[in-house]
Amino acid sequence: MTPGPARSARARRKALAAMEAETGLVHRKWWIPYLFLAPGLLMVALFSLWPFVNTVVLSLTDAQILRGGTFVGFDNYTRAFADPDFWTAAGNSVLYLVVVVPCLVLLPLALAVLVRAKVPGIGFFRSAFYTPVIASAVVVGLIWQWVLRSDGLVNTVFLRLSIVSEPIPFLTDSAMLLVSAMIVTVWKGLGYYMVFYLAALGNVSPSLHEAAALDGAGPVRRFFSITVPQVKPMMLLVGTLSAISALRVFTEIYILGGESGGPGGGARTLPFLIRQVGLGFSGETGYASALSILLFLLTLVFSLLGRRLSKGDER
């Protein structure tokens, strides 16, 4: 029972002593648990909360790399909304998310179902599918550059087979570059999320499949009626995680499309734009911070959406 404001301190101490005698537990000060939490909280505060608060403060200033700024209110935000580069980058980020997330939710699930099969040598395929995850982003980028450049593997094959008459500009056209980067992201994420699904599939009771099979359900029907509902919570988690990483995509575009972010910067995503604005000796820390906050809000919206979907599912 919570002590009421009218209750005297003396009566409260008496009640606590009685409770201690009754339960054998010693009542401590309210802040004792916080003392144990303090080291962890301090780290979070120092390396996550403080930089975040600092970014919010900086986003309201015209600070530059080597010069503290002055308070400019919401000018940086107004500037962002009037900046065509911001809209291009935000559009690309959202497009990236819309295309990549469904692929990363569904394809690894299909892959996980396939590699669960008990056939000889399946371990090799599991490892092979996981290899891109441990490969460095730069190596992955270089491999795909060789595959996709105008005189690369794909174009050479297509030209030899007369499928195309001109090389497809995978890397030199903004839209194609974005698609190429999406392919790389999906390819790299397949193995990672496949492991998530393998864990989830391990929890699906085989008896459900056996019962359905006895009732005459085929593999496809069993997949949609048993596997999918059983791993749905994992699908939501994968969806949320891949949405967050899709909004943070930078490396794939940088390696495939160079430091300008595609021709004319047309394939830049929000993190790419933030880096361009904030980096270098003339970097605009204030504006870059405002863009970071906008990216944070965008991520928050999609995270909340994922949460809402998962709650709806629970109900």
Partner: protein, 445 residues
């Protein structure tokens, strides 16, 4: 409110208050506020810190030798050397400058020098010792003056890498060009590229398309003014600049440049080393790389003076040694910087690396006049580079106002035009508008 609730509220308020006040520190870190100048005492004493850019482990022996000799000459002085990798060098400088923790003697590139100098973090070395100017090549010495800061010079010039022209003789001949007649103007360079594209049949290209590597240099060489007289507005929107874009667009469409090179995602060394590019990078260091990695291509590599066009000379890009303005040991720091950049030490350095001395006495060393029999690209590159340096001048430099942001904005418009997404005239116009907006913004702040 109960006492415990009051305590919790107080703690929460304290934490929030601490956050906000600490966060507000982000506003105050100007890094350059009221830096007091160090004072000369006439005695070379004390421990100084010396930071270099990526010289370990390749040049450890050389640098340590220079330090040891200095400490032997001045027993009261001690040098603590720290070497920082290239990646993140500037970021570290920024962080140190913000914290007031710059080293006493620091290796600076052109852009980091300008930034730190502009913010008053570097000592005026000409003011400290006016006689020292004659030790250095004039173009190099002049480079370390700052616009609007009079005759002050804010760093000692160190090693220099001049611009040269390298090309594949065999591909030159295959394209119907005379290897003895390399291009000397940007327009001629484009004419040559046109012939190369016509002859190559897609097997090789002439040069890299990336506008970032060509601007504003190409425009300066074509006589395009970059800034107005008062240096506060970009004025490159001229018919000549439009002509440059038109030529680039035309050549790109004809295959004179590798398609992906427009985005700088191609490796020029790899393309040239693989015999797929006629013009190689314009740096003597590259010639050495090719010698090691592609000996066959090296054998057919020719070296000539850089394309200089209407300017008639190259720009100068020197590494430098800046002195922290508020160093506690000004005498030791300046003497050490002069020691590192003196003639004999720079010549010795050039024997270990493909660099050139900014020191007049060093550059006069016979080693830099020797062309050998005129067939070895590395030897010829050394002589050509040194010859170009003697007449190098500041006006061919990227102006301070052409910041990374300005460069990126211009490059984006150029890329669109070269790919045919917008017409050249619009591209140059939009590029100038964007550049001026950025310039006005930086002037306001």
């Amino acid at each position: 409110m109960t006492r415990s609730n009051a305590t919790r509220t107080a703690v929460a308020t304290l934490v929030a208050g601490t956050f906000l006040s600490v966060s507000a520190c982000g506003l105050g870190g100007s890094g350059a506020a009221d830096v007091r100048e160090g004072r000369k005492t006439g005695e070379v004493l004390g421990e100084i810190t010396f930071r270099t850019l990526q010289l370990k482990p390749k040049f450890t022996a050389y640098v340590q030798g220079v330090i040891d000799a200095f400490e032997k000459k001045y027993p009261g002085a001690k040098v603590r050397w720290e070497d920082v990798p290239g990646d993140g060098y500037n970021e570290k400088l920024v962080a140190d400058a913000q914290a007031g923790a710059l080293p006493d003697v620091v290796n600076l590139s052109t852009d980091s020098f300008q930034l730190l100098g502009d913010r008053g973090l570097l000592a005026d070395v000409a003011g400290l010792d006016p006689e020292v100017a004659k030790e250095y090549v004039p173009g190099a010495w002049e480079q370390f003056k700052l616009p609007g800061k009079g005759q002050g010079v804010y760093a000692y010039p160190w090693y220099v890498t001049p611009e040269i022209l390298t090309y594949n003789r065999e591909l030159f001949e295959k394209s119907g060009l005379d290897p003895a007649q390399p291009p000397t103007t940007v327009e001629q360079f484009f004419d040559y590229a046109d012939k190369i594209a016509a002859a190559s049949g897609g097997r090789y290209s002439a040069f890299m398309a990336d506008p970032k590597g060509r601007l504003p240099g190409d425009w300066q060489k074509m006589g395009v003014p970059i800034l107005n007289g008062t240096q506060d507005r970009f004025v490159f929107d001229t018919p000549k600049a439009v002509e440059w874009v038109e030529r680039m667009k035309d050549l790109y469409a004809k295959g004179a440049m590798p398609k992906e090179s427009l985005l700088k995602s191609d490796d020029i060394n790899q393309l040239y080393g693989g015999g797929k590019l006629v013009f190689g990078p314009g740096s003597p260091g590259f010639v050495k790389d090719i010698k090691q990695n592609a000996p066959q291509i090296y054998a057919g590599t020719r070296v000539a003076g850089a394309v200089t066009g209407k300017l008639g000379h190259i720009g100068i890009y020197a590494q430098s040694l800046g002195i922290k303005k508020d160093t506690k040991h000004l005498d030791a720091a300046t003497e050490f910087a002069k020691w590192v950049t003196n003639g004999p030490n720079q010549v010795e350095f050039s024997k270990n690396a493909t660099i050139y001395p900014s020191n007049a006495q060093g550059l006069a060393d016979p080693r830099f006049a020797d062309r050998g029999d005129g067939t070895d690209a590395e030897t010829v590159a050394r002589a050509v580079g040194a010859q170009q340096l003697a007449t190098a001048a500041l006006d061919a430099n990227t102006p301070v106002q052409w910041t990374n942001q300005v460069g990126d904005a211009v490059v984006r418009e150029m890329q669109k035009a070269i790919q045919g997404e917008q017409d050249p005239k619009t591209a140059v116009h939009k590029a100038q508008e964007a550049a001026n907006q950025l310039l006005a913004k930086s002037a306001r702040t």
